[in-house]
Symmetry: C2
Subunit: 302 residues, 2 copies
């Protein structure tokens, strides 16, 4: 999707929140916002929001000298998600449809996001994830939660590319991959993370920490946008992207940057987090989405 005009104030808010995490002074924050402001006229609304977010977070890192402002938040998110991992696995195993419960938990895990809401009580979010997912999803209509179509396509897919989003969410991704491998032990899953730290998004070491390597090959995408910007990604990643039978794309940033791709088949699993995306998908903030990209939408609803 293209950047909306309403994204521009939000870019400044994101820059302030990243600088706040580092305890930057007002003077430093003003220097950062001045640099963000200078980038605005050069930025086209035809670009996707994660492309501008990439620049903003690069500015914050350069101006503060911090390579990873979200490091401690990511550590906390990982620990808190790991602490409930066993309980969630039990929940999945006890449920009538284990794969569906794993899908629901993996989407609910997307609530661990510091991009849209700058401050977040990770512990409280994780408790909400564990408690709420099934009840909320059942209220969604089939168009927003294309589970049957997802299963049908998953069963036919051999090579799956799984696009990661946030640290902590990775733990719930692992639980879903466990179920995918139970259903199809010979499927190849590749788990792609950001090439370099940005926001609280996962990089390679975070995926290893979450134990993803037991189920998938882990690859960095070669770029530091909080989304998937194909023309800036590594050749290896682009090749995997092009050849995958099915892509599982987690999070709003990956949706924002890939929503207009018609091929290959992408399922977007995320929670709608801002009014701009809500308008784009035609449903309110907070909606739990499991939806195929446009080229394939009609197959499921027709």
């Amino acid at each position: 999707m293209k950047t909306a005009i309403e994204c521009i104030p939000c870019f400044f808010r994101q820059a302030i929140e990243a600088a706040d995490l580092l305890g930057a002074s007002d003077r430093k924050k003003k220097q950062i916002l001045d640099r963000v402001a200078r980038a605005v006229p050069e930025f086209s609304l035809r670009s996707t929001p994660p492309e501008m977010a990439q620049r903003i977070h690069a500015i914050v890192r350069e101006a503060t000298g911090s390579a990873d402002p979200y490091a401690s938040l990511k550590r906390k998110s990982h620990e808190q998600a790991m602490a409930v991992c066993g309980m969630c696995r039990d929940k999945i195993n006890r449920s009538r449809d284990a794969l569906r419960t794993a899908v629901e938990l993996a989407i609910a895990g997307n609530s661990i996001d510091f991009g849209v809401k700058g401050s977040l009580d990770v512990g409280a979010e994780i408790q909400k994830i564990v408690r709420r997912e099934a009840r909320e999803i059942k209220r969604e209509d089939a168009h927003r939660f294309q589970y049957d179509f997802f299963i049908e396509q998953l069963d036919g897919a051999q090579d799956i590319l799984y696009l990661a989003d946030n640290v902590g969410e990775t733990v719930f991704d692992r639980l879903l991959m466990e179920q995918i491998k139970i259903r199809g032990p010979r499927k190849n899953i590749c788990y792609a993370v950001r090439g370099f730290p940005v926001l609280n998004d996962a990089v390679e070491k975070d995926a290893y920490n979450a134990g993803i390597d037991a189920y998938a090959r882990i690859i960095g995408n070669g770029y530091d946008a909080p989304g998937t910007v194909l023309n800036k990604s590594s050749a290896a990643f682009r090749s995997l992207f092009a050849s995958a039978d099915l892509i599982i794309s987690k999070g709003q940033g990956n949706f924002e940057s890939l929503s207009e791709r018609r091929r290959p088949l992408i399922f977007f699993l995320f929670i709608v987090k801002c009014p701009v995306v809500a308008q784009q998908v035609g449903c309110p903030v907070g909606t739990i989405m499991l939806a195929a990209n446009r080229n394939h939408c009609h197959d499921s609803t027709g």
Copy 2:
């Protein structure tokens, strides 16, 4: 007060909302935000928020060719406030302390503001003003609502400068001035409005439309900031400001631009509308304020 770093995203939001009122295209809005962005590095956090807001609204007017984007909203606010004027006057006349009720209504009238909340149901706001004021104000502590100190100083004042804020609110200002003139028929009141249209703030014709000239001399301040920027105001206004025995300052914009002035005695009557001002005054958004400037605060609470 100085501009907070959190005001900067809000400046962009204000520019979008003003452009939205004019039905500007996304392309036009992007041009406007590019110009606002170029102004950010030139803007010091030592300035007050209304100084930057003045620039933003000037950019919107220039870029769109509209001299007064808020014209129709102001007309509507005026009409709806006039429609309840008689009822509010009855309420004042029936109350045990008519002046206090008029003060409360005049502050409640400050909720007619398009600067902080871009969209506003004026009719609903006015109904709320009429219903709620006394109940809400009684919950406030004396430090935030220095009514006794206000009356004491009002009784001793001969020349009163009344700084207006929004159209519609003007009608409630008139009701307060009626009561001030009943209490002290020989007091001179000067009602100062913005020199030129900005946001939904009142200019001279709006004051005449509200019938203010029956109680006060009306003067434009010579500038188009949504606040009172003294060094940009006309010599005539500055002279009135310096010689007044007491200033009644309405609205958050006037507070933002005058809160650090120690002289003359200023009473700020406004509703706290944003987190930055809430932090400045130490009370939550929505608080109804009647507070003297710093130099005089101790007189009332000591």
